[in-house]
Symmetry: C2
Subunit: 339 residues, 2 copies
Amino acid sequence: MAITIADIAREAGVSISTVSRVMNNTKPVSPELRERVYEIIEKNNFKPNALAQGLITKKTNIVGVVIPDISNPVFGALTKGINSVCTKKGYTIMVCESGGEQEQEMKLLDVLEDKQTDGVLFAGVDINQVLVDAMLKKQYPVVLVTQESAVEENVIDTVTHDNVRAVYDATKFLLDNGHERIAYLGGPKHDFSSGKKRLKGYRMALEEAGITVPDSYIEQGEFSFQSGYEGMKRLYEENSILPTAVVAGSDLIAIGGIQFLNSVGVSVPDEISIIGFDDLDFATCLRPELSTVRIPYFAEGEKAAKELIKFMTGSKEKAATHYVPHKIIRRGTTRAKSK
Amino acid sequence: MAITIADIAREAGVSISTVSRVMNNTKPVSPELRERVYEIIEKNNFKPNALAQGLITKKTNIVGVVIPDISNPVFGALTKGINSVCTKKGYTIMVCESGGEQEQEMKLLDVLEDKQTDGVLFAGVDINQVLVDAMLKKQYPVVLVTQESAVEENVIDTVTHDNVRAVYDATKFLLDNGHERIAYLGGPKHDFSSGKKRLKGYRMALEEAGITVPDSYIEQGEFSFQSGYEGMKRLYEENSILPTAVVAGSDLIAIGGIQFLNSVGVSVPDEISIIGFDDLDFATCLRPELSTVRIPYFAEGEKAAKELIKFMTGSKEKAATHYVPHKIIRRGTTRAKSK
DNA sequence: CTCAAGGAGGAAAACCTTTTCCTATGGTTT
DNA sequence: AAACCATAGGAAAAGGTTTTCCTCCTTGAG
């Protein structure tokens, strides 16, 4: 039913090869023929069948994107960045949702392989040896994004932000503002997750400052509003001496925490300062606006896509880890401690 | 390099046809052969090349998704719903971002055609005659989602929510709570956009109640926080008699509006009630929590995908418009007016 | 004037499946 | 016992491109 290159060739009175050459500029064709063929292509609005093309060229111009959760704004921004450069370079993205589960992630890697994607951008939660091995076996190049692997350095190209350093900086920011009793409200304690890295950054900063915190100052859970609310509640109930500042593992956690504090009449930032992580659009919709550390997810997506394209086009071979810079955003929920 | 069906056939000592038959259960094969072939497939972890398959079967098991903005939480939820049923039915989605621009939308329709997608889910902003014509010309079935076309009924299958009715209900809700001076803070006034429909719902409810509002009670702009803030500011500055309630065209607008009111010391809901639209996750992260009308975007995505699959599998022919039910969610930002 | 070389175009192979069309075998029916 | 039929399996076509390999013609050099 659909029109094929053969139809064009027939109508133009030339061979199939010539039509192909006109379209791909792959060999000289005389101006008159070129003209005639072009016209007929235009007239019929002919587009070559990408399947047939892919079958022979072994290129589909599709890149797979694996993320844990499509509706999570962090991955929304990331995907938007990815799509932005992919579109610009003529690639279309195939988005897959893993739910953060390894079994599903493995399956998606397979699906994307037999769909013949030219490459894959992978945003995992806990990238262990099994996953890395699976990726290395694949036909296509992979670049990790948002989350580095737990395996020896630079086996797979990676674009991410420095979780340890970012939370270190956030904690340092509070320390520099005179706080000493600083608690941590974090995400999952999954082995190689970003949650663990963020906790490490917090610990580093305190240790460096020579401050020891009680275990009851550290709460972990999910990266969600609910979890933040409950974490803060435990913090509040289990400590007779309250912290003067809190580092949160995500903006949602921070907001949940603030909400709890509001509900018990503790003022932010007057009594407790709190700093988030991510810088969601929403952070500026609160009053006071949320202080946080900004991770440029859109830019991270862009960079990862560019990196992947380098591999796909063969202009790069060696894997490396690239960090995208974070930034402390001082807004209304943090304040210097009066001595 | 990659292993093909021929390799399997050779190794098993059977013909290519037999291997294909084993994999697709398309014709009886003796148990022994079947067994032997299966084993070798397993051993080599063979997966047929989807391109070659698609070329001959004319099915790719890919569905295209066109949305205005990947990072918008509304479309995030929608896409998640779509992906949920697609995955379950063996389809993979190809997500494209249009920026809400018609030119780009047309281009994407073309791209998805020559990628041979089996069908397309289209979330537009202003689906006019030109767009509808383009869709009807395509090889694949299309179903509109979130936004119906401006063209005569039921040319293209549609899954959406009733924007007019939803805002009508929201306005009615305020009326029923004793409010009479009700303002509207809306989205774009684009010709066939949901913004226009929502405004219509507002007008209908007031008209029905026999209430006339001054033009200065109606503000339009974008569906954003910023726009809500500014719209409310104008409302506040241009009216000597303030409304006692405000209907917002989106949650973000509502939140922006509330933020402005807070900044000038007007209490929500004590002095002004406000109701949003969408029910973003965020609505419950505010204090007071946002009253709103919930649109089940996830379910809408699911339903649209199911609808599309019916068309793709030929089990349905006739286009129709399906509405997904909205619901008024009473939370903290609305209150009955004391007489 | 002859021969080599280069340029323009066509025929056909290749890519990897599914599916149609045959063939052979063994069993059933009359 | 002959004719027929069903069944299992193979060979090859088809699907729509790109690309290799030819061929033919023109041009330039010797």
